[in-house]
Symmetry: C2
Subunit: 205 residues, 2 copies
């Protein structure tokens, strides 16, 4: 899929651009030239627009992907992006590192960015267990600061299923295992999906 490859290359380049905008020491003139270039480039890309971002689809490896997702989307420059590995018993895991654009307090990850990532990875664990859902509640406990520019691990696991509600837990930890942020949430299976899944189950039975 060569167009996909070109899109992912552009998204990766834009992600690096975001990082360099946040860190650059370029002077006024260089910044003004750069701004003009980006404006012109954006105008070209906007000559033909889709009505919405790429929606989840099957990737070339046969796995579902969400190219435009703000956490895992390789085609979304806002996303770090996280590469999440899941198991069908409802676990999800991703190793990642966050750069300067995600800073809250000096040298630390913004607390809201940790919340963004945990919401997503908890949802991934649910999806992996065939319990996809919208976030109903999410509780976060910040145990210690989360460092920027250091290897981090996000994990989540399905705790229990109760009708359309799935209770999921998770955490972000440093590489040495010390937990920075703990999360637990209730994810709600949309009723139209619940109906479809029931139908499919009856069909299999």
């Amino acid at each position: 899929m060569p167009r996909d490859e070109a899109l992912l290359r552009l998204a990766a380049a834009t992600r690096e651009l975001v990082d360099s905008v946040v860190l650059t020491a370029a002077d006024e003139d260089d910044l003004a030239v750069a701004a003009k270039e980006v404006e012109q480039l954006t105008e070209r890309l906007r000559q033909r627009l889709h009505e919405h971002p790429p929606r989840p689809d099957l990737g070339p490896d046969g796995r579902m992907r969400a190219l435009a997702n703000p956490v895992i989307g390789e085609a979304n420059p806002l996303a770090p992006p996280l590469y999440v590995e899941t198991t069908t018993d409802g676990t999800a895991r991703a190793e990642f590192e966050l750069g300067a654009a995600y800073e809250g307090p000096p040298d630390l990850v913004h607390g809201g960015v940790s919340a963004l990532i945990l919401d997503h990875i908890l949802g991934s664990a649910g999806g992996a267990a065939r319990r996809p859902g919208m976030t109903g509640t999410l509780e976060l406990r910040y145990r210690r600061p989360t460092p920027l520019h250091r290897p981090l691990v996000a994990r989540a696991w399905v705790d229990r299923v109760d009708g359309r509600k799935t209770a999921i837990r998770g955490e972000i930890a440093r590489a040495d295992g010390r937990v920075c942020v703990e999360a637990s949430g209730l994810f709600i299976l949309p009723s139209f999906l619940a109906d479809q899944m029931e139908e499919a189950q009856r069909y299999r039975d």
Copy 2:
């Protein structure tokens, strides 16, 4: 401050670029050319880098600003950015709209993005009441879907202060007032700041 202006213009242009990357229908060749241009531009901006992003400082209007913050930072292309108005009795309020790059389910804001914004605006309310703090706990309740491309309002208010802990509540609502996400959190005043504030208080007394 002309350098600041040029930096903000570049950040705004990059924010629009992010949006156009997520939505563009450009073909493979145009995407490849664009990727190369962004890579070259990034290389130029990286010739001189600061060690860390701009830290909070006094803006030209005499108000504190956090140029690189991932929620409110005008110089951070990841940030929508939110323009937060605060009152010294501990309220914070921002009107905003989120575009395609923040999408979770089709046409809806990613639940984690709402969490990111609420974490920040709750912290802003605490800061406005001279109770700046790190997030200790954050509880989110998703009441209804949060639409993309629609005017939204985020609000927060200090509920009570208990030693170094400040309880803060908030919400994201649609323009018609219907609440999409509710939040409550405990924010912890760092001990070094608590000491400084006590010292300043003694000095005033």
